[in-house]
């Protein structure tokens, strides 16, 4: 489904991603892990087109996305939950959700109920400004917002940051459900091993802008963890 090859990216003078290769299969749930600052977020932003890649290819279902504008991606079924939530602070919860509607293939005019089923708080807070929500509520809104476009690929950057335990569980279930039942491809950046193990099928470990290990989640060994995740 997603094939990234030889991706390079730099901020001004500093190169962050170095000839990065990554492959994600259709319908899989892949966890990307790595220490702070190794370039996980940068990678996702490159996939989303929010950062320009210096060189390399990013193919989703065969199309090379490098050079295509960011707004093209949601129309092709890629949903994104950014790190730090990036809620539109002055739009109401409802408006935050509505923003994505035009990307849907079925041109639905109403926010699908599923979002409210998954995150009931959102229904209660429909008319509150997104920015007023608590951190966790915003995180839920961010996931809900990405689901509105009914993505084929869902990209989540640390979706559990600041979320209360029972909802973390719930989010895990949602991801699993979407992945298993609707065959949605999921890319998940996650720091919490427990969650990653529970939800992910595949893992990719990053170090200094490269993917240094990839395998099925069962094979994520203590030694790998010590090697790539410990400080």
């Amino acid at each position: 489904m997603i094939e990234i090859s030889q991706l390079n990216q730099r901020y001004g003078g500093t190169q962050i991603l170095w000839d990065l290769d990554l492959k994600v299969e259709e319908g899989s749930c892949t966890c990307i892990m790595g220490r702070n600052g190794v370039g996980k977020t940068t990678l996702l932003k490159c996939i989303m087109g929010l950062l320009p890649a210096d060189s390399g290819e990013i193919r989703i279902a065969g199309d090379n996305l490098v050079g295509r504008s960011a707004e093209f991606r949601p129309h092709h079924g890629i949903g994104y939950v950014p790190q730090g939530r990036d809620i539109f602070p002055l739009l109401t919860v409802e408006e935050n959700l509505r923003v994505g509607l035009p990307c849907r293939k079925d041109k639905l005019k109403k926010i699908p109920d599923r979002v409210y089923d998954l995150f009931p708080v959102l229904k209660d807070m429909l008319h509150r400004r997104g920015g007023d929500l608590s951190g966790g509520q915003q995180q839920q809104l961010a996931i809900g917002r990405a689901l509105v476009i009914e993505p084929r690929v869902l990209i989540l950057d640390e979706p559990n940051e600041g979320i209360q335990p029972n909802i973390v569980k719930q989010i895990g279930d949602v991801i699993t459900q979407l992945n298993r039942e609707e065959n949605m491809t999921v890319i998940l950046v996650e720091q919490k091993l427990g969650f990653a193990r529970r939800v992910g099928q595949q893992f990719r470990l990053m170090e200094k802008g490269r993917v240094v290990a990839s395998d099925a989640m069962e094979h994520l060994s203590e030694s790998l963890i010590m090697q790539h995740l410990a400080v």
Partner: protein
């Protein structure tokens, strides 16, 4: 040929005396003309009406070849068209040099107007009769008073009759020394709103007035009554002035409320967008000089397109490269505003251009003698509200409104949600600029159409948007009207200059109380 004029006169049945008076007109100087007009009214009576009217309009000329009096119509191009003064029959054409004008000055115009009024007192049309009474109102003498009372007995129209009563009452009040007559007149006049009446009554009521005691008392009572009426209407008038000024501020600011308020672009070229709209109106009028009214209607969409297009070009060409550097848009748009001003100066000259007002935009709606509302301001007030409502509709009901807010709050995330940010930027900036252009059409009806037009509104516009609260269209509406009304209520007390200063000081102090304007953006995000 030489006798055509006089033949026509003979046909219309002028007496010899009138004929000879008419023959003296072309060569008379202004003083002599005045005497001639008086004599013509005496001898010619009603039949002189067309002559007087044409003279009043400044269309009476004499043909140099035969000294015949002709009425002239000046088409925009080509020779002048001559017609017979009394019959309207065509007398061919002539160049400017072949005719010479029968000169009329102010004093003569007054005289003509009164003469026409005396004739028109018996006109078919009630409106014409009313106008005639109004013309004669304060200047009655014995004979015209007699004319009026004659008319009163015949009059069927209540309004005209009322006006005649009032005019006669004022005449009696002034001319009679009989206390009873005066008191009776005062009773009639107590309901009058005419300032001339008030002045006459005030003189009687004054402490040093020579009037008899009962008259003086009646006058005082009448004066109180008149004053309280006037005060009420004065208040309404001021309110209207305020709303009208507010509507101008609203129109000027509303485009900015979008480009600056919603998009966050400090658009120093906003004023020039208004200016472009005004110039568009001018150009459209040039293209269709005979349809002033229609041209105005066409100018509205045209101005929207012109300014909107220029807005889109500015956005695509400059502002789009300044994303994330909002303050630098100030610099770039300032440069653009200089360029646009100079461009207009080069293309249209630095002089003001003349934009005519259609008939229906001129004059005023007379509600009563104390309160009349000028049509142009009334229409502009309504127009401003309409534009506002339309804009609200667009921003609330179309996806553009939601998208532009999303883009301005978080551009990257908006992209990630599939919003075509570039397109939204261009459209929104185009919309804001286009609306400014539409404002220019309205302003062309009130003020100069010149290269500096934009400059004179830019500061006020920013002030209104900020006062109302950035990002809130309703705030702009309320802000505009508040400042307009406040200004107009201050002005009589302080004079125009000081009123302006006080309003500014008020805004400065107000912002201390509400640092985010009248309708602030609320919430956690807005607080940081």
């Amino acid at each position: 040929m030489c006798c055509l004029g006089s033949t026509a006169n003979a046909e219309s049945g002028q007496t010899a005396a009138t004929e000879s008076l008419l023959a003296r007109l072309p060569s008379a100087n202004l003083r002599e003309t005045a005497t001639l007009v008086g004599e013509l009214e005496q001898s010619g009576g009603d039949r002189m009406l067309p002559l007087f009217q044409i003279m009043l309009d400044g269309r009476l000329y004499s043909r140099k070849s035969d000294d015949a009096l002709v009425a002239v119509t000046q088409p925009p191009t080509g020779d002048w068209v001559l017609t017979d003064v009394f019959t309207g029959a065509s007398l061919g054409t002539a160049t400017r040099r072949e005719v010479s004008k029968v000169r009329v000055n102010n004093r003569l115009r007054v005289q003509l107007r009164e003469a026409i009024a005396r004739i028109q007192l018996n006109a078919e049309d009630a409106g014409a009769r009313l106008a005639a009474v109004d013309t004669l109102f304060g200047d009655l003498n014995d004979s015209s008073a007699a004319l009026l009372s004659e008319r009163r007995d015949l009059e069927t129209d209540d309004k005209v009759k009322g006006a005649i009563e009032e005019a006669l009452a004022l005449y009696r009040l002034r001319s009679s020394s009989e206390p009873a007559v005066q008191v009776a007149a005062l009773n009639v006049l107590a309901e009058s709103l005419n300032t001339e009446v008030r002045y006459a009554v005030e003189q009687l009521a004054a402490a040093d007035s020579a009037a008899a005691l009962p008259v003086r008392n009646a006058a005082r009572k009448a004066l109180t009554r008149i004053d309280s009426n006037l005060e009420f209407y004065g208040f309404l008038e001021q309110l209207f002035f305020g709303l009208s000024l507010g509507s101008v501020l609203l129109l000027a600011a509303i485009g900015l409320a979008i480009t600056f308020g919603v998009m966050g672009v400090i658009n120093m070229a906003h004023g020039e967008m208004i200016m472009l709209g005004a110039y568009t109106t001018y150009v459209i009028q040039l293209l269709m000089p005979d349809h002033i009214g229609l041209s105005l209607w066409i100018a509205i969409p045209a101005a929207f397109l012109v300014s909107g297009l220029v807005g889109v070009i500015i956005e695509r060409g400059v502002i789009r490269f300044l994303k994330g550097r909002p303050l630098e848009t100030l610099l770039a748009t300032f440069g653009i505003s200089l360029i646009l001003q100079q461009a207009v100066r080069t293309i249209f000259s630095p002089l003001n251009r003349q934009v005519a007002s259609p008939e229906w935009m001129s004059g005023s709606l007379e509600i009563n003698a104390a309160l009349s509302i000028t049509y142009n301001r009334l229409y502009i007030l309504l127009f401003a509200l309409l534009v506002f409502a339309l804009l609200q509709l667009i921003l609330k009901k179309t996806s553009l409104g939601l998208n532009v807010r999303a883009v301005s709050q978080n551009r990257d995330m908006a992209k990630a949600m599939g919003i075509r940010t570039e397109w939204v930027d261009a459209m929104t900036f185009g919309l804001g600029s286009g609306v400014a252009g539409v404002a220019g059409v309205a302003l062309s009806q009130l003020t100069n159409v010149g290269p500096n037009l934009g400059q004179s509104y830019i500061i006020d516009s920013f002030m209104v948007v900020v006062f109302g609260g950035v990002g809130n269209l309703l705030g702009t509406l309320v802000g505009g009207f508040t400042l307009g009304v406040a200004n107009k209520f201050l002005e009589p007390m302080t004079g125009a200059v000081l009123a302006n200063i006080l309003i500014l000081v008020f805004i400065i102090l107000f912002i201390q109380k509400r640092p985010k304007g009248l309708f602030p953006q609320k919430g956690r995000a807005a607080n940081d």
